[in-house]
């Protein structure tokens, strides 16, 4: 469960978030839309604990995974290592972790790319590795900032259908600019306007 209570945030004189409250229950996926610079990413960063808020509170239950707008892969680790890095493992479980990571990568259309380094990946591939890493972490709360923006139509379908199944028993807050993605994910839709959260009437 993720609960944002009366979140306030300003950068200098500029008020970015004003009295934002949102509750996302377990098994629920909420998609957040809004114009660039309206405070979506700031809200996500506050929810992740990466940014402090001026007022209000954040309540979360369980582990949180974040998919950032840019892939943020470890440049000196292979694709497989980038995914297994977030998995808790001792020496005994190493093989299991690698097998699980390879399965997730294959589900995202990255079978055969395990040994590549981030510099050798296309933007879309790197974005999928970032998603695979978050999935491998097996968190309770997922916060994703435009996770599908670099994916082409064909692979997006595969990734979205996998994620929809995976997130069915998780809590997810996803930022997007594409309303079609909300339909594909079966997500509730909210819009950020002037630092405030509104639920569109037709949603």
């Amino acid at each position: 469960m993720l609960k944002l209570l009366k979140i306030e945030k300003s950068f200098g004189e500029k008020k970015v978030l004003s009295d934002v409250s949102l509750t996302v229950e377990k098994g629920e996926c909420v998609m957040l839309f809004g114009a660039s610079g309206c405070g979506k990413t700031t809200l996500l960063r506050i929810a992740a604990g990466l940014e402090g808020q001026d007022g209000g509170a954040v309540e979360k239950s369980g582990k949180t995974a974040v998919v950032f707008a840019e892939p943020r892969l470890f440049p000196t680790a292979t694709v497989l290592e980038n995914v297994t890095a977030v998995m808790r493992r001792g020496k005994k479980e190493r093989k299991d972790a690698e097998r699980r990571a390879a399965e997730i990568l294959a589900a995202f259309g990255l079978g055969g790319a395990e040994a590549l380094y981030p510099a050798e990946l296309s933007t879309g591939m790197a974005a999928r590795v970032s998603l695979a890493r978050a999935v491998a972490y097996d968190a309770d709360v997922y916060l994703m900032d435009e996770p599908f923006k670099s994916l082409d139509a064909g692979i997006k379908q595969t990734v979205v259908s996998y994620l929809r199944g995976f997130l069915s028993d998780k809590t997810a807050l996803i930022i997007s600019h594409d309303s079609a993605e909300a339909a594909l994910m079966g997500a509730d839709v909210y819009r950020m306007e002037n630092g405030m959260l509104v639920k569109p009437e037709n949603a």
Binding site: L50, E70, F74, A85
Partner: protein, 260 residues
């Protein structure tokens, strides 16, 4: 490939012959063997020195002393930089001390050290104090250059110290560390030899350089200087290869090399 190697060898040979001829010409014009002996005379002296077991003993002792100092300087610099990055209080206390060491002339350090320790340790300590500030400032730079984006990823996924070191810290620090090792190598070697010349410990290149100077043995002075230069080049090449090997075998294949 083979022609490229041949070209390189020919170019190096040409440069070598050019400088030897220039040296020969200058010594012939000057005609003062005590100031500038001929290359042949120096070469003869070098061969003569190399024929004695004492030559190798002196080289080994000098190498051991200076290398030990270098390793201590590298480890000390890296350790102090890590402490300073970890705790602000260390930064406040240790950073000015490192700056003072960096600014102090090596000759002053050598003479001061002579008051407080046995003279055979002075070259080692001089080499250490030469390497320490260079490694310190580079490792500090490396630690502070870890991208904020990766720090956030590590925070988000709850990385412990080991994973932070492996995925965030080492890839940023290694290029700086490697560059600092390369820079400090030559300086530590020179400082160590200079300290040996001043302190003249038993079994040292510096002792030979000093006695060659005292007895106006120019050929021997030049021969030992050549030995110092050759050893410096060989050590540098060896250490660079070792560092590259460590980076590659340590799973850091994609670490970008930092230019000196």
């Amino acid at each position: 490939m083979a022609s490229n190697i041949l070209k390189k060898v020919l170019r190096a040979a040409f440069c070598f012959v050019f400088w030897i001829l220039l040296w020969q010409a200058f010594s012939a014009v000057l005609a003062r063997p005590t100031v500038l002996p001929t290359p042949l005379a120096v070469f003869r002296k070098l061969c003569e020195l190399m024929g004695t077991s004492r030559f190798y003993l002196d080289c080994l002792y000098s190498l051991g002393r200076i290398f030990a100092g270098l390793i201590l300087g590298i480890l000390g610099g890296a350790l102090i930089a890590s402490l300073c990055a970890w705790l602000g209080i260390f930064d406040g206390v240790l950073s000015p001390a490192v700056s003072v060491i960096k600014a102090t002339p090596i000759a002053s350090i050598i003479i001061l050290m002579l008051f407080v320790m046995e003279k055979s340790y002075v070259p080692m300590v001089s080499a250490m104090l030469m390497a320490l500030p260079i490694v310190f400032s580079n490792v500090r730079k490396g630690i502070s250059s870890v991208p904020m984006e990766l720090r956030e990823v590590a925070d988000t996924f709850g990385f412990g110290f080991g994973k932070r070191l492996r995925y965030c810290l080492l890839p940023s620090v290694i290029p700086y560390f490697s560059a600092s090792c390369r820079s400090s190598l030559g300086l530590a070697w020179k400082a160590g030899i200079a300290a040996e010349v001043i302190c003249t410990p038993k079994y040292s290149i510096g002792l030979n350089l000093n006695s060659a100077k005292v007895y106006l043995e120019s050929e021997e002075l030049y021969a030992w200087t050549i030995v110092v230069v050759i050893m410096s080049v060989l050590i540098e090449k060896g250490v660079i290869r070792l560092l590259d090997c460590m980076v590659k075998n340590g799973g850091m294949k994609n670490v970008k090399a930092l230019e000196d």
